[in-house]
């Protein structure tokens, strides 16, 4: 099967959706002339003249204008350049995009996708490296997705564009450059927002992650095999509304749960998973829930400090082995 990058996969998704729906367009900073900082929009302006729009540095317009364009009957995709900049347009996200449907009694549909490149990229420091998805899972009315591989990147973006509800699409900056198998269009399986996927089956512990956190999950699971521990890996893919059933039924099978993400651990996106499992499946757990995420600091610049911000497979392996101490 062909291998393409995460970045190229998102580009393909855009092209196919723009081909299919004349009302899809995209706007953001440096996406037409430059093709996006990460090349994720390259070539689209030539294929779809007038539908890839370079905006001024005006995030409230990019998001609020996207909401207005959706109200007028288009399916806008808006790009945030860096996820860190969503803060500039927070009112447009949580008071406008997320609310107009409900507060107007269902008169409005907001088929809007907000794309937000996130995560540590080496030296991006405090304002260009954050993973901010957890802010948005607290907001009813929007959906939050964060794919972990090129194939999902493509299928989740297509699903997001076709959704009649607003979607925040977090795409990790390091993952952009990763290549993996992506089927040809005719062999694609559509993604349904809200569904998690069991990426690897196992019987001893459930590891739940998403986006770049999945690299830690996979690496840790590989190494745990040496100790005879078979981890089940769940890629959550959609963080809101998240797939509670898949996670809980896995926990009922493995009796142990480990959560890992790159975002700040305190109030992180997976804290909701931990809380829900504690509420609804505590009696199935044989051990405390393990949870890995970033420490509670802004992201430092110096490599010696930035490395302290990261979670490593070692952390998971150590913690998970601790859970099994004396039982295996």
């Amino acid at each position: 099967m062909r291998k393409i990058s995460f970045s190229e996969a998102t580009r393909e998704a855009m092209a196919e959706e723009m081909e299919k729906y004349p009302e899809v367009f995209v706007m953001g900073e440096d996406i037409a002339r430059q093709g996006g900082i990460f090349g994720q929009f390259k070539g689209l302006p030539d294929e779809f003249p007038g539908r890839v729009i370079d905006t001024p540095i005006s995030e409230t317009f990019i998001v609020g204008g996207g909401v207005g364009a959706a109200l007028a009957g288009t399916r806008p995709v808006v790009d945030m350049h860096f996820a860190d900049f969503i803060g500039v347009a927070m009112d447009e996200v949580f008071n406008q995009m997320a609310k107009v449907r409900y507060m107007f009694g269902g008169q409005a549909k907001i088929p809007l996708v907000l794309r937000a490149p996130d995560g540590l990229a080496g030296g991006g420091a405090a304002q260009h490296s954050q993973s901010v998805e957890s802010w948005f899972i607290h907001i009813p009315g929007i959906q939050v997705v964060a794919p972990s591989n090129p194939y999902d990147a493509k299928m989740v973006l297509k699903a997001a564009i076709e959704s009649d509800d607003p979607v925040l699409y977090f795409e990790n900056k390091v993952l952009y450059k990763e290549y993996a198998e992506v089927p040809e269009k005719e062999d694609e399986v559509p993604y349904q927002i809200g569904k998690a996927r069991i990426e690897r089956e196992g019987k001893d512990i459930t590891i739940v992650s998403y986006s770049i956190g999945m690299k830690n999950a996979r690496a840790a699971a590989d190494r745990l095999l040496n100790d005879g521990i078979q981890a089940e890996i769940i890629d959550l893919i959609t963080l809101s509304p998240w797939d509670k059933e898949t996670v809980i039924s896995s926990v009922k099978k493995t009796h142990r749960l480990c959560l890992v993400s790159e975002c700040v651990k305190q109030g992180g996106a997976l804290a909701e998973v931990a809380a829900t499992v504690a509420e609804e499946a505590l009696e199935y757990l044989d051990a405390p829930i393990l949870r890995y995420g970033a420490p509670f600091t802004p992201i430092p610049f110096a490599p010696t400090l930035e490395k302290l911000y990261r979670v490593y497979p070692d952390d998971l392996v150590k913690g998970i082995k601790g859970v099994f101490q004396g039982t295996i």
């Binding site: 007038g50 729009i53 364009a69 959706a70 406008q96 107007f104 009694g105 549909k109």
Partner: protein, 324 residues
């Protein structure tokens, strides 16, 4: 006046202004009686602006309204029974009772919603204009209403710049009513005429008497034509005054009641209407009184309808969060 007005149009203007006035008086009474939940913000004294602007629009054109939005909603053609039911929080309201006065909308007539966030509407109207001009390629026009207070939001800058640089069909209608909640504009606003700000964006601006529906309509027709011709946005500053408190129940300790009443007496657009009519259009006082009487009866019927409706059923609670 550059636009010719027929007597029928003038009747319509007066009818709309009377309907807004009666609607607001009715809402005020019912709010003070404790029959309406939440907050309401009244448009009394500013009726000529919404009326004149919306008269220049088609039903398919869009408006973005404000927390002080009943007048815009009525002028754009919303059904006043359903509007009143919404203000009362009833299930037969325009938004099924989920929005209330501050979040009222009627998409069937292009009223894309009041906004509880001051300055929240600029980008929505401008984005709709971008979609209409660039992607959907129709000639719809968007209007965003906002006060002098809202002109201090940064969102104004972002939307105005984009609208001007891309020549989008959006009209910025500033209701310069001199008050941002309890704060007089001179203490917070760097210009005397809010529309001075349009100059910085290369956007044409016009200042009109917001108490004169004909003058407002005239300016609106020019702006709408410009927008439909693809020549871009216009800033209309309509000078008016906020006669009521910020919200119903506002003790208004920040200003003198007598002064406000004097201003209302001198500038009430309903009172001034007869003398403002262009040459060749005349009304007898009896004709005007009749229009007001009919408006009052319609609003009374709307209120009775609203009162007779049920509140939304609890089964509505989770509906409309998402489409699916």
């Amino acid at each position: 006046m550059t636009v010719t007005i027929s007597k029928d149009q003038a009747i319509k203007f007066y009818e709309t202004m009377c309907t807004i006035r009666c609607f607001e008086e009715s809402v005020k009474r019912d709010f003070l009686n404790g029959d309406i939940p939440g907050f309401v913000h009244l448009y009394i004294g500013e009726e000529a602006i919404g009326t004149g602007i919306c008269a220049a629009l088609r039903t398919t054109d869009y408006i973005e309204s404000t927390h002080r939005g009943h007048g815009h909603c009525i002028a754009k053609g919303a059904d006043i029974n359903k509007m009143m039911a919404e203000v009362f929080g009833k299930r037969d309201g325009l938004c099924k009772g989920k929005g209330g006065s501050m979040h009222i909308a009627d998409f069937s007539v292009g009223m894309l919603g009041a906004n509880g966030v001051v300055g929240g509407g600029y980008n929505l109207a401008t984005g709709a204009a971008l979609a209409n001009k660039t992607i959907l390629k129709n000639d719809k026009v968007s209007v965003v209403f906002f006060g002098d207070g809202a002109s201090n939001r940064g969102t104004f800058h972002e939307a105005a710049n984009v609208a001007a640089v891309w020549k989008l069909p959006v009209i910025f209608v500033n209701e310069m009513n001199c008050w941002a909640s309890t704060t007089p504009y001179r203490t917070t606003t760097s210009v005397e005429d809010i529309s001075d700000r349009a100059i910085g964006y290369g956007m044409p601006r016009v200042i009109v008497d917001g108490q004169n529906v004909f003058e407002v309509y005239d300016a609106a027709c020019d702006a709408v034509e410009r927008a439909r011709r693809g020549e871009g946005p216009t800033f209309i500053e309509a000078k008016t005054y906020r006669i009521e408190g910020h919200f119903v129940g506002d003790p208004e300790k920040y200003r003198k009641k007598e002064e406000t009443l004097q201003i209302f007496n001198d500038t009430d657009p309903l009172k001034l209407f007869k003398d403002q009519c262009p040459d060749g259009i005349d009304f007898t006082q009896e004709e005007l009184d009749m229009i007001l009487t009919i408006a009052r009866a319609k609003v009374q019927a709307a209120k009775e309808f609203a009162v007779s409706c049920d509140y939304p059923d609890e089964s509505e609670f989770y509906k409309d969060v998402y489409v699916d």
